[in-house]
Subunit: 329 residues, 2 copies
């Protein structure tokens, strides 16, 4: 009995030289529906922001984890965000990081406020920070901060009532209802989350879980997680082509862009990890030291970690499922 023809998909791994151009792939494969991730815009000097509207919807959210990144990098991160929010104990971490100058005054501190020290709350309140108490134990401080941020930009008519919405998570509920009603009419927000990854393991995985849940429920929120202890960025990739537009610079170019040399960039290549932790996936990559094609990957099978960026223009990951990618700054 003849069997039907079976379409064989062949997995491939190619080892590339330390520097290649992926311009051809960008030109031929990267279409309008490609997801372009431009991490630089959060760290560049203000004058280099390509699209001014981006800055107006960029938020810095500081979670409760030690901040250990280069001061120049932190300054650019801060200056590139319109709104700065500390989730509860994140306020202590900001004060510890900036203990002498008080150069960084967040717009809000939000959460059940069992972690933020009273003296720090008073210090920042005296400098203009608004305190938003959200005392429910059924949402995390991270979720509460996100409700505040989304309300601030998308439902400013209820933000003035925010202090009446403090005890029963009325804000979270109201904001969810409003979000559901307004559908796609809401503004897309870019949220740089400082912390939540790199500390205790359950907190790291809880961050991944929450980023996934928030991204699914509110697709207008785009997250960039910055590990405050090892200076890497983690983003959620969507099915399809994802182009991480992060060129490799000469030291001189890098100084022009960042104003500084980043910690890990020279000498050596940037580490990249492709992390299929939400589900198994099939991926094809362009611009990595070990590029793969039609490669089945999963947390219980095989993964591409400690890979390196060799693409001059950045790197591209095509995937059939959502997955996370991390890369060093």
């Amino acid at each position: 009995m003849p069997t039907g023809e079976k379409l064989e998909v062949v997995e491939k791994v190619v080892e590339n030289p330390d520097s290649i151009s992926i311009k051809h792939t960008i030109d031929t494969n990267v279409e309008l529906d490609t997801h372009v991730i431009s991490p630089l815009k959060y760290f560049e000097a203000r004058s280099r922001f390509n699209d001014e509207s981006d800055r107006h919807t960029t938020v810095l959210l500081i979670l409760n984890q030690q901040i250990n990144i280069l001061p120049d990098l932190f300054a650019k991160l801060w200056n590139n965000a319109t709104l700065k929010v500390c989730a509860d104990g994140g306020l202590n971490r900001l004060r510890d990081y900036d203990s002498t100058s008080s150069a960084y005054i967040p717009d809000y501190v939000v959460g059940d406020l069992d972690s933020a020290k009273k003296e720090n709350i008073e210090h920042y309140q005296s400098l203009g920070t608004k305190k938003i108490l959200q005392s429910s134990q059924y949402y995390t401080d991270f979720m509460k901060a996100l409700s505040l941020i989304n309300t601030f930009f998308n439902f400013p008519d209820i933000i003035s009532d925010i202090n009446h919405l403090d005890t029963v998570d009325a804000l979270e509920k109201l904001e969810e209802e409003r979000s559901a009603e307004s559908g796609t009419k809401v503004k897309a927000l870019k949220i740089v989350v400082l912390g939540g990854v790199g500390g205790r393991f359950d907190q790291t995985m809880a961050t991944i879980n929450q980023i996934w849940n928030l991204s699914s429920r509110r697709p207008h929120l785009q997250f960039v997680i910055l590990n405050p202890e090892h200076t890497e960025i983690i983003v959620l990739l969507k099915p399809g082509f994802n182009f991480v537009a992060y060129p490799r610079f000469t030291p001189q170019e890098e100084t022009e862009v960042f104003g500084i040399i980043t910690e890990k960039s020279r000498p050596g290549l940037r580490n990249v990890g492709v992390l299929p932790i939400l589900s198994d996936a099939v991926i094809t990559t362009y611009g990595l030291k070990w590029d793969v094609e039609n490669w089945r990957t999963g947390l219980t099978t095989k993964m591409s970690s400690s890979n390196l960026q060799v693409g001059k223009e950045g790197f591209i990951i095509w995937t059939n499922k959502h997955l996370f990618v991390d890369f060093e700054l």
Copy 2:
């Protein structure tokens, strides 16, 4: 048309007081096939080791990540292991941690040795450490270390040839073949892995991936991962009842057991996270602040992170699937 009766499994969450006994659950539910995890035995003073044979098969494996744990705790960890192995750059971390005393001399340094500094290799070689070069790029230093460890205990007849097996991962292949042949007759080994979690995110997930793969392929290897930066333990739980036998102590009892007060134990309760990252699972817990019953959990749905241990005797997790748990020391 009548439909068949549907068996409804009801999820429950119970908030417990800060101290409860789970003795009744241990006595009634914890049968012979329960998996008992006794983290204390790796940290106790030697005299308190319950089962002398445990020590003879306990290994400390140091990976390439900064060591930042209490000296007294490290000393006990070291003294409770028969064999001490550094995977490549782990040797540098050990030297950095113990730069003045040279009290800790590992038995082996293994890997492609592109990270371990020449001066550190020479330093430890002069004190008796054996250097095992395994230069293949197709296995990680972690995998190579595991092959060495398994060979050391289970196939001592080939360990003397180890320096002839250095360039083509002959050791890894031979050890795998031998393991497959000998089946279940091999010795169970307890491997405390210091590092691999808590640093760069792709390295953390790669550790999880490798622990899973190694545990599946070689079930006689049992792993305990110690996060060297935040003093937490991570273990893989099997389907069924898992009893983490980690009593809550008074400060005096704790001093008797550890010789010291651990960092996170007093005041406050130990953090616990139940992490269904390999697949979704259904769990029931006993001895946590927020105990759950028939609770569906998954990385893309809901997870129990930042939970607390309130069980005096430890805590129990029943699960229908493999999952990871982390808890603070």
